[in-house]
């Protein structure tokens, strides 16, 4: 044991390079030797070899739950990992307010909500409400930000109208329900509607967030940025300034 540098690594069970992992799944097969063999086959196809079926339990009469342990031979290479690192400075509320004041000479307008049928507002509220999250106050707390929180289950057209009415600089949307890719569908619908309603010059910045998003999908979903698990209000505020506030030192992107 001993943490590698960033060279290629293997999973670690109890010895460097042993490649050990734990896997569980259900197969739609009654429990018998064939089913156990099928479970092994799946593990092998996933690159586990040797793989051991250490637990098999029938569920009803047509299904079997398996726990498999074994070694994967894949190497993972951290140096090839693409991550969306924070490409903007973290600012304090004070700094955010100052930047907006001097850079925009008006309050920056944020419209937010949960679109579609999603009613999980705790996430967006954590970002927007004064109460905030993880000890940081939410955007409503920032003097120079005007926050319009539409709450849950906002229809996309309604969101667009409010964005127009409020002259929103940024639109913040939360999506928590992911079953059947609801979050992706709703996000695409939302971004399409905004691109339809605005030309690129005037379109508000589109930001979505939720615990199960992949940050790298932003372009694909047609939004400017995705925030995920554990985001704090400060990060969001800093990003908004970075993208929206013209700054003498830095030409706004």
């Amino acid at each position: 044991m001993s943490a590698q540098a960033r060279g290629p690594v293997r999973p670690y069970g109890d010895t460097t390079g042993d490649g050990m992992v734990q896997l569980s799944f259900t197969l739609p097969l009654p429990h018998d030797k064939v089913a156990e063999g099928a479970a092994l086959q799946l593990a092998n196809k996933m690159g586990m070899d040797p793989a051991l079926v250490v637990h098999a339990r029938p569920i009803g009469d047509g299904f079997t739950f398996f726990v498999v342990y074994g070694r994967v031979n894949h190497l993972v290479d951290p140096s090839t990992v693409q991550v969306v690192e924070r490409d903007y400075p973290l600012l304090s509320p004070k700094e955010v307010n100052a930047a907006v004041k001097t850079g925009m000479h008006r309050r920056l307008v944020v419209v937010g909500g949960c679109v579609g049928t999603d009613a999980h507002t705790v996430g967006i509220d954590a970002i927007l409400n004064i109460k905030g999250f993880a000890g940081e106050k939410g955007l409503e707390y920032y003097r120079e930000l005007k926050v319009v929180n539409l709450g849950a289950q906002v229809a996309v057209p309604e969101l667009v109208n409010r964005a127009v009415a409020e002259k929103a600089d940024a639109v913040l949307v939360s999506q928590v329900v992911t079953q059947r890719d609801a979050h992706l569908l709703n996000t695409r619908e939302m971004s399409a509607a905004f691109r339809e309603a605005f030309d690129d010059a005037s379109r508000p910045l589109l930001v979505v967030g939720g615990p199960r998003f992949d940050e790298a999908m932003a372009p694909d979903l047609g939004v400017d940025r995705i925030f995920t698990r554990g985001t704090t209000p400060g990060e969001v505020a800093s990003y908004l300034v970075h993208r929206l506030v013209p700054d003498p030192e830095r030409k706004a992107s």
Partner: protein, 522 residues
């Protein structure tokens, strides 16, 4: 050997109940003064009007809309609708609905003898529907007697939520075979805000399956089969909640569902449904549940997903007291009150488990005859499914120690996905272990009268009393309290929220045969 009971201060308990009455009474008055589109549609459903037009809009909606356009709803749909039938505009409700929506019938509000005739025909046809509900209730009672009931308390309550009724059914049956006493089919995310009840068997819900009469029927039939196979009656649960609460309550009665989630404030707080709309729909749906012998499950657990489970513990107690008041006023009996509470304290908080025990025992002592609904950890569940499985085990233990009536089985994947087949199986195994290995531990569990647990329980009850006193200080009492975020930290003004336009103040000549019959029953 009996379960440990907390000795609560008699006077404080008395005081708490009378405060709940004071807080609730104006709301009941309000509810009696109004009707809603959904109450009226529910009435038509009782009379047997089902089905939908080619676009899928239910005939009850079409017909009520026409009546509303022609005469308004202040006097209820019954008079204009059955007047039209009496007038021979159509031979039955469905034909009337079709003609009316085609514009070939105009409605009027009958008076004098016409009104008299309309009323009696309406009462006959609606009464028939209510008799069906009565029949269903007797059916349930018989099956429980003949087939057998759940072997012990707490009843094991499991959720299915595939979005596809045809996936739900075998999963529900598998769950029942694996030990579930109660199956809940969760609704699709959007449904609570639909101002109509979808029709037919459905396969495309998000994170849940649409509540439709046909889905109810299919699932109940499948579970009847399984019940016979297992020799115990497996109960079915759904949600009488959202904009169509009264209609869904009616359909539940007609299709012999056994429990319904039905909370006095959930729709207001968590779906931003107008408070008045909610309270009116609420009262009607509870009258139907009372008649149908359905056990309601209230939603206090939800508060603790947005507010802290320790700081807000007294809001749960308060809501339970109010739910009890509203429920009894609507005719429900103690055995029908599945009052909700949940294991939602931050597990990293020192003594968190004993705090949970204190809260659970408070509910148990405050509502000794009610089958409390004990909800598992959700907001503090994470992607660490191992830790989650352990937490659920301690939730189960708390249930066993404090004598809960209905135990909603927690899923280790709570923070990840809607339950998988294997999650449910693992969860039941967890419950079985705890009940079997430690189910009688309550015999050795004796919190000291002045100990940590008793002290905490007393404190929460005290805070609840204070809260209700504060509510009464508001000018408009309860409505203002809801408006200023007293519950679940959500602010819901009485004139805001969805569905307000579906609320009408009753006219003096308002007539609703269903209400008449149901009120009479009390």
């Amino acid at each position: 050997m009996s379960r440990p009971q907390l000795e609560l201060d008699r006077d404080t308990v008395k005081q708490a109940r009378s405060l709940a009455r004071k807080v609730g009474r104006p709301i009941v008055r309000l509810a009696k003064q109004h009707t809603t589109v959904s109450v009226e549609r529910a009435t038509l459903r009782m009379a047997g009007l089902a089905g939908a037009d080619p676009e899928g809009t239910p005939w009850v909606n079409r017909l009520v809309d026409v009546v509303r356009a022609d005469t308004g709803l202040e006097q209820g749909v019954a008079l204009p609708v059955w007047d039209a039938l009496v007038r021979g505009e159509a031979e039955d409700l469905i034909t009337l609905a079709q003609k009316a929506s085609a514009g070939s019938v105009t409605m009027r509000t009958p008076t004098g003898r016409d009104a008299q005739r309309a009323r009696s025909l309406a009462k006959r046809q609606v009464g028939a529907g209510i008799r069906t509900i009565d029949r269903r209730r007797r059916e349930r009672e018989q099956m429980v007697r003949r087939i057998g009931d759940a072997p012990r308390q707490p009843w094991i309550y499991l959720i299915v939520a595939t979005g596809d009724i045809y996936e739900d059914i075998p999963q529900a049956q598998a769950a029942a075979r694996a030990g579930a006493d109660v199956i809940a089919v969760i609704r699709s995310t959007g449904q609570s805000l639909l101002d109509y009840v979808p029709e037919g068997a459905t396969r495309e819900g998000f994170a849940g399956t649409y509540a439709t009469q046909e889905n109810f029927r299919l699932m109940r039939a499948a579970l009847d089969e399984t019940s016979k196979e297992l020799g115990r009656y497996v109960r079915l649960t759904n949600y009488a909640s959202g904009l169509c609460m009264p209609e869904i309550a009616t359909l539940a009665g007609l299709e012999r569902l056994d429990m319904m989630l039905n909370d006095s404030m959930y729709g207001i707080l968590f779906r931003d449904i107008n408070p008045i709309r909610t309270f009116v729909d609420q009262r009607f749906s509870r009258q139907v549940h009372a008649r149908a012998g359905i056990i309601i499950n209230t939603g206090e657990d939800n508060y603790l997903t947005t507010a802290d489970a320790v700081d807000a513990a007294h809001t749960v107690t308060t809501s339970q007291l109010l739910n009890e008041y509203f429920a009894k006023e609507a005719g429900l009996e103690d055995w029908q009150l599945g009052l909700g509470h949940a294991f939602e304290i931050d597990p990293d908080l020192p003594e968190s488990f004993r705090l949970e025990l204190a809260h659970a025992m408070l509910a148990r002592a405050l509502f000794p005859k009610a089958p409390l609904k004990w909800m598992p950890p959700t907001r503090h569940m994470t992607g660490d499914v191992f830790r989650g499985y352990l937490l659920d085990g301690f939730f189960n233990l708390a249930g066993a120690l404090t004598g809960q009536g209905i135990l909603l089985v927690g899923m280790m994947t709570e923070a990840v996905v809607t339950p998988w087949l294997s999650d449910r199986d693992l969860a039941l195994q967890n419950v079985r272990y705890v009940m079997n290995a430690a189910g009688n531990l309550h015999e050795d569990f004796r919190p000291a009268p002045d100990g940590f647990i008793a002290t905490r329980a007393a404190r929460v009850l005290g805070e609840s009393v204070e809260l209700m006193e504060r509510i009464l200080d508001h000018e408009k009492g309860m409505l203002d309290a809801i408006a200023d975020g007293t519950f679940g930290l959500m602010k819901r003004p009485a004139d805001g929220g969805r569905g307000l336009d579906g609320v009408m103040r009753k006219a003096p000549d308002y007539y609703n045969p269903a209400s008449e019959i149901l009120e009479a029953a009390k």
